[in-house]
């Protein structure tokens, strides 16, 4: 059911939304690049608490794969973007603290990948032939190749089946909650845009003259060069 809704949403976005606003495709690709790069970052941090060099080497290989996906999205952006690529800058948040077992970070990344791959599949099916569709095919092939590998690896790192299920459930709940908060924030954002627009048009009438005079001044008269406290 959720898949069906998401499929419809993606088809609508691709056929109508992206045609109306070509810049939107670029933003979506930037988002994909950010997701992959974020996965790499978490994996690097998770690696620090893996003591077995064999397991570290496997995770290292995983990092290279995610990094290659991030790079692939940058190349595709150049095709659609219309301007020079600059990555999104959302704040990196370490999910687990330093002493948490590494398998928890891997579980978190793994869940993120599974969700992202599901969306990539839906998008791949909705897109016409082109560089983005080709890129998604490659990424999906890679991700599908190591889902089982990750599960086995988590067990080798000391996770029990029950532990994995709980960690995955915890991550899914957190992602659901964050998605919910995003919806709420979008509502607030829309409200803020409306309010600020009204304020701009009403108050701007009385202030633009003073503002223009100020910008024409040329030099800064007030000396603000000292240490300050609130």
């Amino acid at each position: 059911m959720i898949d069906a809704i998401e499929r419809l949403k993606i088809r609508f976005a691709v056929s109508i939304g992206w045609s109306a606003d070509p810049g939107r495709v670029g933003e979506v690709i930037r988002g994909f690049q950010s997701t992959e790069a974020d996965g790499v970052w978490h994996l690097y941090r998770g690696m620090r608490s893996i003591s077995d060099p064999k397991e570290r080497a496997i995770v290292f290989g995983h990092c290279l794969e995610e990094e290659s996906h991030a790079d692939a999205f940058v190349r595709v952006y150049r095709h659609y973007g219309g301007r020079a690529f600059s990555p999104s800058h959302f704040e990196r948040k370490s999910i687990y603290q330093g002493d948490a077992p590494a398998w928890k970070t891997l579980a978190f990344v793994h869940v993120g990948e599974v969700d992202a791959t599901r969306r990539f599949r839906l998008l791949r099916d909705a897109l016409p032939e082109g560089p983005l569709k080709e890129c998604l095919r490659t990424v999906i092939d890679d991700e599908e190749g190591h889902v089982d590998l990750t599960h086995d690896m988590l067990r080798r790192m000391g996770a029990t089946d029950g532990g994995i299920r709980r960690a995955v459930a915890g991550v899914r709940l957190r992602r659901l909650w964050e998605g919910w908060l995003r919806v709420g924030r979008r509502v607030v954002d829309t409200l803020a845009t409306a309010l600020l627009s009204v304020v701009y048009y009403v108050f701007g009438l009385f202030l633009f003259g003073a503002a223009r005079r100020k910008l024409a001044a040329g030099v800064v008269t007030y000396d603000n060069n000292s240490l300050k406290r609130l």
Partner: protein, 605 residues
């Protein structure tokens, strides 16, 4: 006294720890988050600084922030209103950002560090740059120039710095107000040329060398020089307040021609003869050349003005425009100032250092020499655990993820640890002589945008074909961007056509200087089309390990010089940890990776 300097909010967030007047740690947030120019609160840089000082945030005496959010907000709001009614989108976006977050910077810092707001000080942005420049200079007194995009209200600012009774006094002389900004002009034209603004201004500078300044007169009308050395930007050419409309206006396009799309090819090449240069490509190069020339004229004008107000022998220079190494060399050689100091990280990333030092010295006292600092203040690493995993890396597992165009595959990794630096340098120098590309990672990472021998990729400087391979198969870098070289101090005057008095100023790759004709063959891969380079003169006391490598290589090559470029992939910040270095080594055609005393290679049996 323990003072933490913090900068964040626009680009290049960073943190710096000063204990009893000495910098013990400094780092940019991007080195921990792997997001180039990361502007978010520097959580991980702060964590590193506190750990290096062996304290927690509750032990801090003071945190110092690099701008005055209230003053800056007044400028942001005023700008949005000045272009009424065309700036609704700009107003809405700015207000969401400022009212939601940026205006409450003191609260954010207090909450994140869990310190009382009484322990937080802030200072104006250009003042932060001024103290950044002055505090590290070691000068008893100096004229100080800050040229930036925009801070609170100022774009360019002139100061005079002195020490009185063991405390620094920095007095404002003049501030040129927004929107009269040289930094914004250069960034806008960078965007017009199809490059990424606030990131690729160096590419504009590189492109300028391929053009002729045939638009200089038109550009002088855009950024007019005034008789007293100041300047005036004609805003009709730019959308500084209407930024959703693009960087330049129709008037600029009518004057200089259409903007370049980022995907349009530029046929210029530092190493090979250019393929046919179209009229359009030539025009764009000429626009870059004209912009560069006029920027230099205006900066020199500001130096003249500053010298008239503060007739010192010494100049301290900071702000984003001080990253323009071509203009910097003209200041060094043509301005009225005899001695010039530019801090190793003169942009926003370095303000955390200056503000922390200034606070510490203002309250704890000190002397100019005491506050000097080297750029090697970033995180160190222990490579031993990462070396162990090499035995388990399967080359075939890496092959699918090589960067495009890279053909190395199927070769097993090997590692060898050398017992001492002399043996290491000899082995690495031999490989460099054989034409191998070496990733060199040593000790603490540098602050600032330049690799200075601790996070560097090195090749022999005479091999253009190797430099092309480096550009294509390792750095994925535009062919028009030149490389530069490091040279041991003993061979500086054998390579650089500069005044001997200026050798010491060239320690941190801040000046584009001419290379001696007699040395150009041996340095062909690291000299730009106009015969200049941006050198690092390496002194043994600055970086002993790197100096030893240069000398070891010099014994084989005949000159103690190496092509030195930063150890980062295109679009990423410099590597910090061994694993990040290994990841780039794995996916590119780098031949050798050196992690402290261990050499990792992909050798055929």
């Amino acid at each position: 006294m323990r003072v933490l300097g913090i900068s964040y909010g626009y680009h290049d967030a960073s943190a710096c720890m000063v204990v009893d007047g000495k910098v013990v740690a400094a780092a940019a947030e991007e080195r921990f988050t792997r997001q180039k120019h990361d502007a978010n609160f520097p959580t991980y840089a702060v964590e590193y600084c506190l750990k290096e000082a062996g304290i927690t945030s509750s032990d801090l005496d003071q945190a110092v922030f690099h701008e005055d959010p209230h003053a800056k907000f007044s400028r942001v709001l005023c700008s949005a209103m000045a272009a009424y009614p065309d700036t609704r989108r700009e107003f809405v976006q700015s207000m969401k950002s400022w009212l939601g977050r940026k205006l409450w910077a003191v609260n954010s810092i207090s909450a994140r560090l869990d310190i009382s707001p009484d322990r937080i000080t802030y200072l104006g942005h250009h003042f932060s740059h001024a103290v950044q420049a002055f505090m590290g200079s070691g000068f008893e007194s100096a004229a100080i120039l800050v040229v930036d995009a925009v801070g609170d209200w100022a774009c360019s600012a002139l100061y005079h710095g002195t020490w009185q009774e063991g405390r620094p006094q920095v007095e404002r002389l003049l501030e040129v107000a927004f929107p009269n900004s040289l930094g914004l002009v250069y960034s806008a034209i960078t965007a017009y040329l199809g490059f990424s603004p606030n990131d690729s201004e160096a590419t504009t500078m590189a492109l300028a060398a391929f053009g002729k300044p045939r638009f200089a007169d038109r550009m002088r009308a855009v950024v007019a020089g005034l008789d007293d050395g100041l300047y005036q930007v004609d805003e009709d050419y730019f959308n500084f307040t209407r930024f959703f409309r693009g960087p330049v206006t129709d008037k600029f396009i009518e004057t200089f021609g259409p903007a370049r799309k980022p995907t349009d090819d530029l046929p210029f090449n530092c190493f090979e003869e250019a393929t046919a240069v179209t009229a359009d490509a030539a025009r764009l190069a000429d626009v870059a050349a004209s912009t560069q020339l006029v920027l230099e004229e205006r900066v020199l004008g500001l130096c003249k003005k500053l010298h008239s107000m503060a007739p010192s022998e010494n100049l301290c220079f900071a702000g984003g425009v001080s990253l323009n190494c071509v203009s910097n060399y003209r200041i060094l050689s043509e301005s009225p100032f005899k001695n010039v100091y530019i801090p190793p990280d003169p942009g926003d990333g370095g303000t955390s250092v200056g503000t922390a030092l200034y606070y510490a010295a203002s309250h704890g006292g000190g002397a100019p020499e005491r506050h000097r600092y080297s750029p090697y203040l970033g995180a160190d690493f222990d490579e031993s655990a990462d070396i162990e995993l090499i035995d388990f890396i399967k080359p075939e597992r890496i092959t699918p993820y090589l960067k495009p165009g890279v053909t190395l595959s199927g070769l097993k990794w090997r590692s060898r640890t050398y017992p001492n630096r002399a043996a290491l340098c000899a082995a690495v120098a031999d490989r460099l002589m054989q034409g191998q590309i070496v990733g060199w990672v040593q000790g603490r990472s540098e602050i600032g945008p330049r690799a200075l021998g601790n996070r560097s990729i090195l090749i022999r400087p005479d091999d253009k074909a190797l430099a092309i391979r480096l550009s294509k198969q390792v750095k994925e870098r535009a062919a028009l961007r030149p490389y530069a070289f490091s040279v041991a101090e003993r061979d500086a005057l054998a390579t650089l056509a500069i005044d001997p008095a200026h050798v010491r100023a060239n320690r941190w790759m801040q000046y584009a200087v001419p290379v001696l004709e007699s040395a150009r063959d041996k340095l062909a891969a690291a000299v730009h089309i106009d015969g200049t380079t941006r050198p690092q003169v390496c002194y043994p006391e600055d970086n002993p390990a790197y100096h030893d490598l240069l000398v070891a290589f010099g014994e084989r090559f005949g000159l103690c010089a190496l092509l030195n470029t930063s150890f980062n992939a295109s679009g990423y910040p410099m590597v910090t940890t061994p694993v990040e270095a290994m990841a780039m080594f794995a996916r590119t055609e780098m031949d050798v990776l050196v992690l402290n005393n261990t050499v990792v290679s992909r050798d055929v049996e």
